[in-house]
């Protein structure tokens, strides 16, 4: 294998569109280190000033829940946690 084919590490890119908003996953870039990953992420995902801040995280560092076990994680719906579970008489108005 040629030296250049070792493959640059993969980084996940998160962009914050504006102050007060969350960083949102935008995609990924390949880069040899954190600094160039940030620069590549800026060039690839924010050509139109889509963000005020970028995070890059090594893809291998992301720990994810198993989507096949979604019900174990998120299946406990507990509708009584939602306000619409409770009926309020019309006379009371908006609550």
């Amino acid at each position: 294998m040629r030296a250049s084919e070792q493959g640059w590490p993969l980084w996940e890119v998160f962009v914050r569109a504006d102050r007060g908003l969350n960083h949102v996953h935008a995609g990924s870039v390949h880069a040899v280190d954190a600094e160039t990953a940030l620069q590549a992420a800026r060039d690839v995902y924010t050509r139109r000033a889509e963000g005020v801040s970028i995070w890059v995280v090594r893809s291998t560092e992301i720990v994810a829940s198993d989507p096949d076990r979604r019900d174990d994680w998120f299946g406990d719906l507990k509708p009584y946690r939602h306000p619409t579970f409770y009926e309020i008489p019309d006379a009371i108005g908006h609550m």
């Binding site: 030296a3 995609g27 040899v32 280190d33 954190a34 690839v44 050509r47 096949d68």
Partner: protein, 323 residues
Amino acid sequence: MTVTDETTEAALQERFDATLADGRKIEPRDWMPEPYRQTMIRQIAQHAHSEVIGQQPEGNWITRAPTLARKAVLVAKVQDEAGHGLYLYSACETLGISRDELNRRLHEGRQKYSSIFNYPTLTWADVGAIGWLVDGAAITNQVMLTRTSYGPYARAMIRICKEESFHQRQGFEIMHTLATGTDEQRAMAQDALDRWWWPSISMFGPPDAESVHTEQSVAWGIKLETNDQLRQKFVDQTVPQADYLGLRIPDPDLRWNEERGHYDFGAIDWDDFWKVVRGDGPCNRERLEHKRATWEAGAWVREAALAHAAKKSGRDTTTEEAR
């Protein structure tokens, strides 16, 4: 395969089918049938390669754009094409294939890119015609793909479609400027339309009856409209635009069909289309050779970056705290 495996496989398939039936997205870590994964890799890779190769015909005019403003716009557009390629490679890699492998398959001719980029850009009007027609056709397809069944592909498409609108409008503006200019400029615009019209409407692929992938792709929610439906949509919206420009679409059979509520149009020369797909278009060899040459010429940069990173490792290279 044991009985348990078969049961599991059937259950997984059932869940996959149910997800699609509900109109929900398939995500990278979901189980998916191997043919779906391979189809997705083939399609997203071909799309990514098209964006990257598509830089060549337009890049050809960067040094010869008529004004500095036109040049700045064209550079921004070509940069977008590179960006679109990268969004799509990023989406494709979520299917478990490496960037190096995707590059290798393109360079070895094992994966294709859109045949439209195998035509030459002979005049400045071609830059206008590409934005107006080629990007216009691509948008028609890509708007559909924002609702495609594979999540990362659909999300990349949303990002791309937002940016493509600029591409088509700048192309139309170039055509409009030429079409309202001198006789020579009008002739240049007409010549570009004459050469790009048929390749553009061929971009949607073979007719439904002959398309090998369409039926399965529709079943999997990858395509939501067929080649012929998309082609009709593009023709319907483009003919009035050509009329507005005062340019003539080079199709003697083109006419409004009151009954269908659509434009009828002439037969596409599919022999020519397949000739270009198979590698015998005007620029196939040039495009791929150029791509391979730049890949080889850039090897030292990739190696140097890795060497630099290796030398620096051990030091904290993060410049700003994530906050």
